[in-house]
């Protein structure tokens, strides 16, 4: 059963805070560091990857917040949106196409995230994305926003707003692109061949993606490739042995190894 106080306790807050920008940033960070992303559930969902997009907040709360599993984008962001709303924030749904490994972008509805309106400004809120990405809400601005050794900015490009990231070394890299207009969850129920084809390819790959934030960055496990982002520095490692893989999964899902 969805419980604001238990939720806040899991995120390390002992009392109900005021809906300020600072509190939002703190909860966002804590959420990413506490509740991991885990795509392994998609494996059982076939091509109906977005069927459960309108989550049952009570059931998913029990499984993820007080249970011990990770979640996918619409679960984690759905729960967080509910929390923020109950704390008095004005929130809504956004959708994004994620930059793929070949440099292209996924379909517009691929990824579900949120926005929150604070002090009259809309901020991107996303605790359901494996990253590497922002740890605190992002302003929709092409000004550089610095977070934990990493730079972010949001730049317009061909009708989209593209979230870009730049670590301590390297160039600006797109994270995902979006139209900054609120979405209705019913949009995902319309037939969409682009989305279906995308789901088919994803299902074919079967690669499991998991991740969680740390104090200074993120740990992202894609298949057997572990990316550790620490203070803006990316370290890649291939986990060749099962033991190394198990350790990494246990660490990310916060389970005993």
């Amino acid at each position: 059963m969805f419980d604001v106080d238990r939720y806040l306790a899991v995120l390390g807050q002992s009392s109900r805070p005021e809906p300020t920008r600072e509190v939002l940033a703190l909860l966002h960070r804590r959420h990413l560091a506490t509740l991991p992303y885990d795509s392994s559930l998609n494996a059982g969902r076939g091509l109906a990857l977005w069927a459960g997009i309108d989550i049952d907040v009570d059931a998913v709360f029990d499984e993820i917040v007080t249970g011990d599993r990770g979640g996918v984008c619409y679960e984690l962001n759905g729960l967080f949106r509910e929390l923020l709303a109950r704390l008095g924030y004005e929130v809504g749904v956004l959708a994004a196409g994620i930059r793929q490994v070949d440099g292209s972008f996924g379909p517009d509805l691929e990824h579900v995230l949120s926005f929150a309106r604070v002090d009259g400004e809309s901020l991107l809120v996303d605790v359901g994305f494996v990253g590497p990405s922002y740890l605190e809400p992002l302003r929709l601005s092409d000004e550089v926003q610095h977070q934990a050794g990493t730079d972010f900015r949001v730049v317009p490009d061909g009708g989209y707003q593209v979230v870009q990231r730049r670590g301590r070394v390297g160039e600006w890299q797109p994270v995902y692109r979006l139209h900054p207009r609120p979405r209705a969850l019913s949009e995902w129920r319309r037939p969409d061949t682009g989305l279906e084809e995308f789901a088919r390819r994803l299902a074919g790959a079967g690669t499991v993606v998991r991740g969680r934030a740390t104090d200074t960055g993120q740990k992202i496990l894609i298949g057997r490739r572990l990316l550790v982002v620490d203070d803006g520095k990316d370290t890649l490692r291939g986990l060749v042995t099962q033991a190394d893989l198990d350790d990494a999964v246990a660490d990310i899902l916060r389970r005993p190894a």
Binding site: T207, D215, L236
Partner: protein, 1022 residues
């Protein structure tokens, strides 16, 4: 003549006599054979292998090789008259004659393909030879070592119709005889004479003769001498078939009645030669001596290629004269003995006429020939014969010569005392040392004879006899990661079966082997630990006390002396057994004695009556002592700092190590100052370390002005604050609430704040007598943020050091900027290595950082592991103090595990004329597409692994698949998401499978990916 002039004349005469004696001594000095190495038919890869073969009476002659493009079907014709055909179809061949570890020698696959395999074989064999002498091959760089190499075949690339693409420019040097010796000299950096000798079948023995002469003449101090012969085409068989000079069965029946011709074979054999006195002085093994040698010519004989008996007699007599010996002083002759009906009788008669005379009838000369086992290895034959003799000396047995039905009836054996070795015989020492003559006669008429003598007794070992160290570093290395792992496996195997002491092995690894780029050290206290560590290394598994790295760090060394927080009960106690450490501790204990009421050794060993480290006036002097003693220990192992830098109170130890403070003054400063802190400041403050940037902390301190100050900036994101305990507590809580890391420093005072102003005047007064000096090692001050001359480190400085914040991050950054690349923290537990690493990471420099000891892990094993950390990164370490005064001695080690791949230019098939392109193994071009479906499971995975490696290498822009090892992790070898997709695209195209773009995310190495692809292909077929 006056007395004076007489004395002067006598003195001059004495000097002249001495000079003559030295000259004569040098001219006749025996030449020591300090190592031997060979590749011969029958899978012989070492002198030991050769002994096994001859001792067992094995015959190594086999069918023609199938891997050289010879048209075996068309080649054979039993009719000796058939043009272009060979009536022989067997010979002695070297296994893997085309295989080579090109990467090890820094040779590109393309050049390796164009290079004569004789050059390549000689390179590997030369490296191995030097290793077998217990000499680090890289240590010969720039020495006056000579190279004398016999070569007679120059036709590797001669069958090419046209030069294959990409090989032009390499074929010239790659196939020149001169470059066979020149390339060895070039690769090892040898500056003595490098000479290629071609006297046909006597080449290698002539090489030995020339090398011995050059050594005696002082032209070189060490020489590699040997020869190589590989058969690139069947032409020698065809040619000799016409002359009917070959035994139809390919066997040399030396000196036998059944002799019916010679049998061609391949081989490579080399010796390392050194003047005997040098070999003894350098501690090199002496396998035997070249006691004397001679070379001559047949002259205008019976025919250009016909042997000349009188010339052979003369060369034997000259060699005996060179050795100062008579015929009876030699027990046996390893004959040329090729098994020809013409040559063998002439040789036997010459032996009968020389060695057969002038000797007792009951001690006949024993005659044998290695050619009966392996065939005629031509340019390598003479040295191969010497290696057989060296092994026979070692084992005390003269092995049997094969295929002798009865001694040749064409020889009058009654002409002297010569007997054929038809059976193996014990080889016992008579009146003098055992000796053998070795003969080689070239087809062009150049004869050589060498007299080999058993090694004299080694000089008495009167070295130290203390017990060897219990814990030792086993250092192994490879030119690449695979080589390192293969080497670890070899060493583990040899430790499994060998009897050499572990310390002897450890010593030998660091003194008799090259330290190549990819390095690892296993620190072991027992053979079992050593083997398990090496096995882990070979399997690529991490293991405790095993460090690996690559020698990429190049720069100056900074010694870092830490401040608070390194101590633990028992720190340093386990190192007191090491004299250098104990001496330093005792020196400091004596210096502390006038100022403290306790005993340093008692404190370090946590003796029951000693005060605890919870007292600031105990822990600071004790940490000072351990820091200074560790610095001395590092220095004794060759880690001499180019600068010292101290953190807070660590600056007192740093100044002492630098020589700015005497040990007495260092002890005074640390004892007096910590005493004042204990009396006056203790209980009034607190300190905490925060994982926050300096800017962030400055911001937080703004509204806490007066209560808190920044005490130290350790790294760009690690700051220490100090001040009133309540304020520290509140700030720690604030940072923790944000999820940040904050840690109390376990002290109850506030250094580097206004608190310490209370003791300023008292401290200055107490330290007024400190007499700082210009330091021997530059001192970078973290209190001043600059290099400081030692004379400035007076009492006033030691107050400022306590009052001002510690600019450690700035100091580290500045040192990095000034080219410091090695940071060694001399403390009982590393507290600054993390901060240094952060600064290194931020700077992008390739640098190494290590601590010394660790909490509860403060003995020799940990210190050696710390030393090893530097060694594997390329910092030269002097391991010798570990073995000083002990009975540890160099021992035999496995040689380098070359990672060979085949490179072979296929010549035009002979005699049938069909053109075939070169068999390019140079990957990145086009890898031939094997029919995967037709292959059995194992072979399919292997083929797929090769395909994956080739594609991965190509995408990364490497010239060949060897750049991507089968177990290389893609994302650690330079892959990005984009290049990952390229590999996927290539593999999808090759296999026809639909493959996901995240393919190599899931299957992170070529091997794992090949397994997966094989599975996918099998699934598709089902």
């Amino acid at each position: 003549m006056s007395d004076d002039r007489l004395v002067a004349a006598l003195r001059a005469a004495l000097v002249e006599n001495e000079r003559l004696r030295n000259g004569a001594g040098a001219r006749s000095e025996p030449i020591a054979i300090v190592a031997a190495a060979c590749r011969l038919p029958g899978g012989v890869r070492s002198p030991e292998d050769l002994w096994e073969l001859v001792a067992a009476g094995r015959d190594a002659v086999s069918g023609f090789p199938t891997d050289r493009g010879w048209d075996l079907g068309a080649l054979y014709d039993p009719d000796p008259g058939a043009a272009g055909r060979s009536y022989v179809r067997e010979g002695g061949f070297v296994d893997g004659a085309g295989d080579f570890d090109a990467g090890f020698f820094g040779i590109s696959p393309r050049e390796a393909l164009a290079m004569d395999p004789q050059q390549r074989l000689l390179l590997e064999l030369s490296w191995e030879l030097v290793e077998r002498a217990g000499i680090d091959p890289t240590s010969l760089q720039g020495s006056d070592t000579g190279v004398y190499t016999g070569v007679m075949y120059h036709d590797y690339a001669s069958g090419l119709r046209e030069v294959p693409e990409g090989l032009e420019g390499f074929l010239g040097t790659g196939n020149s005889g001169s470059v066979v010796s020149g390339r060895v000299a070039y690769t090892l950096g040898l500056q003595g004479p490098a000479i290629t000798v071609d006297t046909a079948c006597s080449s290698s023995l002539v090489g030995v003769h020339l090398a011995a002469r050059a050594l005696r003449a002082g032209e070189c101090s060490l020489a590699l001498a040997g020869g190589v012969a590989l058969l690139f085409s069947p032409a020698p068989f065809v040619e000799f078939s016409r002359q009917r000079g070959l035994a139809p069965d390919g066997r040399c029946k030396a000196f036998a009645d059944a002799a019916d011709g010679t049998g061609w074979a391949e081989g490579a054999a080399v010796l390392l030669l050194e003047r005997l006195s040098d070999a003894h002085r350098n501690g090199h093994p002496v396998l035997g001596l070249v006691r004397g040698s001679a070379v001559n010519q047949d002259g205008a004989s019976n025919g250009l290629t016909a042997p000349n008996g009188p010339a052979q007699q003369r060369v034997i007599r000259r060699a005996l004269a060179d050795a100062g010996l008579g015929p009876a002083d030699v027990d046996t002759v390893e004959g040329h003995g090729t098994g020809t009906t013409l040559g063998d009788p002439i040789e036997a008669q010459a032996l009968l006429a020389t060695y057969g005379r002038e000797r007792p009838a009951d001690r006949p000369l024993l005659l044998g020939s290695l050619k009966s086992n392996i065939g005629h290895t031509q340019a390598a034959a003479g040295v191969a014969g010497i290696i057989k003799i060296l092994e026979a000396l070692r084992h005390g047995v003269l092995p049997a010569t094969l295929h002798v039905d009865r001694p040749s009836s064409r020889v009058d054996w009654s002409g002297g005392a010569v007997e054929l070795l038809t059976d193996a015989r014990a080889w016992r020492r008579g009146a003098g040392p055992r000796r053998a003559g070795v003969s080689s006669f070239g087809v062009s008429g150049t004869n050589a004879h060498v007299i080999v003598e058993e090694a004299p007794p080694a000089p008495v070992d009167d070295g130290p006899t203390g017990p060897p160290p219990g814990t030792v570093p086993l250092a192994v290395s490879g030119a690449d990661a695979d080589g390192l792992r293969a080497q670890a496996a070899r060493l583990a195997d040899s430790l499994d079966v060998g009897e050499a002491g572990l310390a002897d092995v450890a010593l030998s690894l660091t003194t008799t082997r090259a330290s190549l780029a990819h390095r690892a050290v296993v620190v072991a206290g027992s053979r079992a630990q050593a083997v398990s560590g090496l096995r882990a290394l070979a399997a690529g598994r991490p293991a405790p006390h095993v460090v690996t790295g690559s020698a990429r760090v190049d720069g100056r060394i900074a010694l870092v002396l830490p401040g608070q927080g390194t101590h633990w009960a028992g720190m340093g106690a386990d190192l007191l057994a090491w004299p250098r450490f104990a001496e330093a501790i005792d020196e400091i204990a004596a210096a502390l004695h006038p100022h403290v009421g306790w005993d340093l050794r008692a404190v370090l060993t946590a003796a029951p009556d000693a005060p605890g480290l919870d007292r600031v006036d105990v822990v600071q002097p004790a940490s000072f002592a351990v820091g200074v003693a560790l610095a001395r220990l590092w220095e004794s192992f060759g880690i001499r700092p180019d600068a010292v830098v101290g953190h807070s109170q660590g600056e007192i130890a740093a100044a002492t190590v630098a020589g700015a403070l005497s040990v007495a003054d260092g002890a005074l400063v640390v004892a007096v100052r910590s005493g004042l802190i204990a009396q006056t400041l203790s209980g009034h403050g607190g300190m905490a370390s925060l994982a926050r940037t300096p800017a962030d902390v400055t911001e937080r301190l703004r509204h806490r002005a007066g209560a808190l100050e920044i005490a130290a900036v350790n790294s760009p994101r690690s700051v220490v604050v100090a001040g009133d305990p309540d304020a520290v507590r509140e700030l720690v809580a604030e940072v923790e609430a944000e999820g940040g890391r904050a840690r109390w420093v376990p002290v109850d005072y506030a250094s580097h704040t206004a608190h310490v102003e209370k003791i300023e005047s008292e401290l200055r007064a107490a330290l007024a007598g400190v007499r700082p000096r210009t330091s021997a090692i530059p001192f970078y001050s973290t209190a001043e943020g600059a290099w400081v001359d030692g004379t400035a480190l007076d009492g006033g400085y030691w107050y400022r050091n306590l009052r001002r914040p510690v600019g450690f991050a700035a100091a580290t950054a500045s040192l990095l900027e000034q080219g410091f690349r090695v940071f060694v923290e001399a403390g009982a537990h590393p507290v600054l290595t993390g901060s240094v690493q952060e600064s290194i990471d931020g700077s992008g420099a390739v640098a190494a950082v290590t601590g010394s000891l660790r909490r509860e892990d403060g003995g020799p094993a940990r210190f050696l592991t710390s030393l090893a950390t530097l060694h594997v990164h390329g910092v030269p370490v002097d391991w010798s103090p570990l073995y000083a005064r002990t009975s540890t001695r160099p021992t035999t080690l496995p040689t380098y595990a070359f990672r060979r791949r085949r490179y072979w230019l296929e010549s035009e098939a002979f005699p049938v004329t069909t053109t075939s392109g070169p068999e390019t193994e140079t990957a990145a071009a086009e890898t031939p597409e094997p029919d995967l479906a037709a292959l059995p499971e194992d072979a399919r995975v292997a083929a797929l692994t090769e395909i994956v490696r080739a594609d991965a290498a190509a995408v990364l822009g490497h010239s060949g698949p060897e750049a991507v090892a089968p177990d290389a992790v893609f994302f650690e070898t330079g892959f990005t998401s984009l290049t990952a997709v390229e590999v996927r695209d290539r593999l999808a195209a090759r296999t026809g499978l639909e493959l996901p773009s995240l393919l190599i995310f899931d299957h992170p190495t070529p091997q794992l990916l090949a397994d997966h692809l094989a599975q996918e292909l099998a699934d598709v077929r089902r």
